[in-house]
């Protein structure tokens, strides 16, 4: 894993090889509704998101991946089990719902840039709300980070005025402004066409190499998962539980030429059957597309 030294220096605050932002999911169960009659969404789920790596969670739509992500982010409670961020218990016995906070920032499926704030106001939202930075300093930092991510010139536009691909990048910059320990990405590229998607994947990797922030990424697109992930967790359909965990040993930094390599094809072949099987189960169960 090579990281350009120049980039390291410019991002010194974030980019030090601190090994933090690991999440441990420990025997988590989530039942919606009453314990005996409710809907079992997550069933004794255990796996780990290693610090400083990209972990991708693949499964059919509506399988319960998002439930897991919401539990980490603190939007939902869990029924039993525990989730740790490094050594801190986010939720577990006695505290079933985590507190949302800027150490774990979610990038949403349909995007959640505030349409009533300009892009730069969106990016500076976190530090200003938390009161950790005066506005001028936040503006400077935001401008620098946006320029760094190739987003110069749109600072004072509204999110509604830029393309959806660019919006996702702004949203990721908004998250990174807070030096999060982990980014939680909930199918962020779902609504994009495949060409835009490929650009977004490379941009995400670039951001990752610069910032070394842990990433937990949810998708139903297997190719996307293998291309991005250090580790791919294939989920069963509802109730959701890891079916297969793969370490993707394709060396980083990656670019789109990886897709045509033999190793990539091998991973695809190894997993496609497992994913397809779950997709058929999900289809038969009649899960509604969200």
């Amino acid at each position: 894993m090579s990281v350009e030294p120049a980039v390291m220096a410019s991002r010194s605050a974030v980019a030090q090889p601190v090994r933090q932002g690991g999440v441990r999911i420990n025997d988590v169960v989530k039942i919606y509704g009453a314990k005996d009659t409710g809907l079992l969404a997550v069933d004794h789920c255990t796996f780990e998101v290693p610090p400083g790596e990209i972990t991708v969670c693949v499964g059919p739509s509506g399988c319960g991946k998002t439930t897991l992500l919401n539990a980490i982010a603190g939007f939902h409670s869990i029924t039993s089990g525990s989730i740790y961020l490094d050594d801190e218990m986010l939720c577990g016995p006695g505290k079933l719902k985590a507190q949302p906070g800027p150490d774990r920032i979610v990038v949403f499926q349909n995007g959640a840039l505030f349409p009533w704030k300009t892009n730069i106001e969106n990016v500076t939202f976190g530090p200003i709300m938390q009161g950790v930075m005066p506005r001028a300093e936040a503006d400077d930092k935001a401008r620098a980070m946006m320029a760094d991510a190739g987003l110069r010139g749109i600072e004072h536009n509204y999110p509604g005025e830029i393309s959806s691909g660019v919006r996702r990048r702004v949203e990721i910059v908004r998250a990174l402004m807070n030096n999060p320990k982990i980014l939680l990405l909930d199918e962020p590229y779902r609504a994009l066409d495949s060409l835009t998607k490929s650009v977004m994947h490379e941009a995400l990797l670039e951001i990752f190499y610069k910032n070394r922030v842990s990433i937990f990424f949810i998708t139903h697109d297997l190719e996307e998962a293998i291309f991005l992930g250090h580790k791919v967790v294939i989920m069963t359909t509802r109730p959701c539980r890891p079916k297969k965990i793969l370490d993707i040993d394709i060396p980083h930094p990656r670019d789109y030429s990886v897709l045509t390599t033999k190793r990539f094809r091998e991973f695809m072949e190894e997993t496609v059957a497992a994913v397809h099987e779950e997709a058929i189960k999900a289809f038969a169960a009649g899960e509604k597309e969200r």
Partner: protein, 304 residues
């Protein structure tokens, strides 16, 4: 909605390049461009045909053919002559100060009622939408009172508030208040939960979420509500002025009837329509100004 519906396209299509530019010069250019587009479209000419047809029918049926029933109505030339006469037969025209006094009295009542309804209704609606607990206890009472139309409050309002001014303002307020509060509440409930969650993630406190997410997020609905609110305010005001009250356009219409000044009735109605239109246009302009993010998004045809 960038596709063209075969049913209707109402709004003039604005090319992207022009819409993106902002600033005074660009907006003037945009206005000019829109005007030239509008003049090239068939719309202004159809509009002329429409008005000519309407006024022509009114003129012919009342003043030329003198159809039964129609002949009792004041005709358009009679009304126009009266309206713009320096020495009106029935005492009210644009040259008479009393005319402006009636307009002023009605507008003042609307302004007071609308202001109160907005200042009370918007926060009330915001809290209804924001706090589950508040809604559970307060909304039933609101819904319990709401089926009674504000106009049915007329006699009770006269009993409750002494004088002739307060009852009229109260009725107008009541109608506005329901529209504003209800739409504001729906606006808060329409906010995508992702926005609230995103703000929580970014470390916003509950109050900050309210201030930076709930209020601006509900803004489009609030302004829809305020537009409706001005409309129903005039609606109630006229009823109030016709039943009780002195001065005001509703009063003009009613007394002109009892005193058989028929052209003045039409002058009153037309003035009401005009002033009503101006007030709701003003609310729309304020809304557009406060929600530039939305106007600019819509001008681009928003791809969401």
């Amino acid at each position: 909605m960038t596709e063209t519906s075969p049913v209707q396209v109402l709004t003039t299509e604005v090319p992207r390049a022009i819409a993106v530019d902002s600033g005074a010069g660009a907006s003037l250019a945009l206005a000019k461009y829109r005007l030239s587009l509008w003049l090239k479209s068939p719309r202004p000419y159809l509009m002329l045909i429409g008005f000519a047809g309407f006024l022509g029918f009114w003129y012919l049926s009342v003043e030329v053919w003198k159809l039964p029933r129609f002949s009792q109505m004041p005709g358009p030339t009679e009304v126009l002559h009266e309206w713009f006469s320096k020495d009106p037969t029935y005492g009210l025209s644009i040259f008479i100060p009393e005319y402006y006094m009636h307009i002023w009295v009605s507008t003042r009542r609307i302004a007071i009622a609308f202001f109160l309804a907005t200042v009370i209704g918007v926060p009330f609606g915001l809290f209804l939408g924001w706090s589950e607990r508040f809604k559970q206890f307060v909304f039933p009472v609101f819904e319990f009172l709401r089926p009674v139309p504000p106009l049915a409050w007329v006699p009770l309002a006269i009993v409750m508030f002494r004088g002739s001014e307060t009852p009229v303002i109260f009725l107008t307020f009541l109608a506005s208040f329901y529209a504003t509060a209800l739409n504001t509440m729906l606006g808060v409930e329409s906010i995508d939960v992702s926005y609230v969650r995103a703000a929580n993630c970014l470390g916003a406190t509950r109050w900050q979420v309210f201030r930076h997410v709930i209020v601006p997020g509900a803004m489009p609905f609030i302004f829809t509500g305020l537009q409706i609110s001005v409309g129903v305010a005039w609606f109630s005001l006229v009823a109030g002025e016709m039943v009780s009250g002195q001065y005001g356009l509703g009063y003009v219409i009613n007394t002109s009837y009892t005193m058989v000044r028929y052209p003045t009735i039409i002058i009153g109605m037309a003035t009401l329509g005009l002033v009503g239109y101006v007030t709701s246009a003003a609310v729309r302009l304020v809304g557009d100004y406060l929600m530039q993010w939305r106007t600019r998004e819509l001008a681009l045809g928003g791809d969401r």
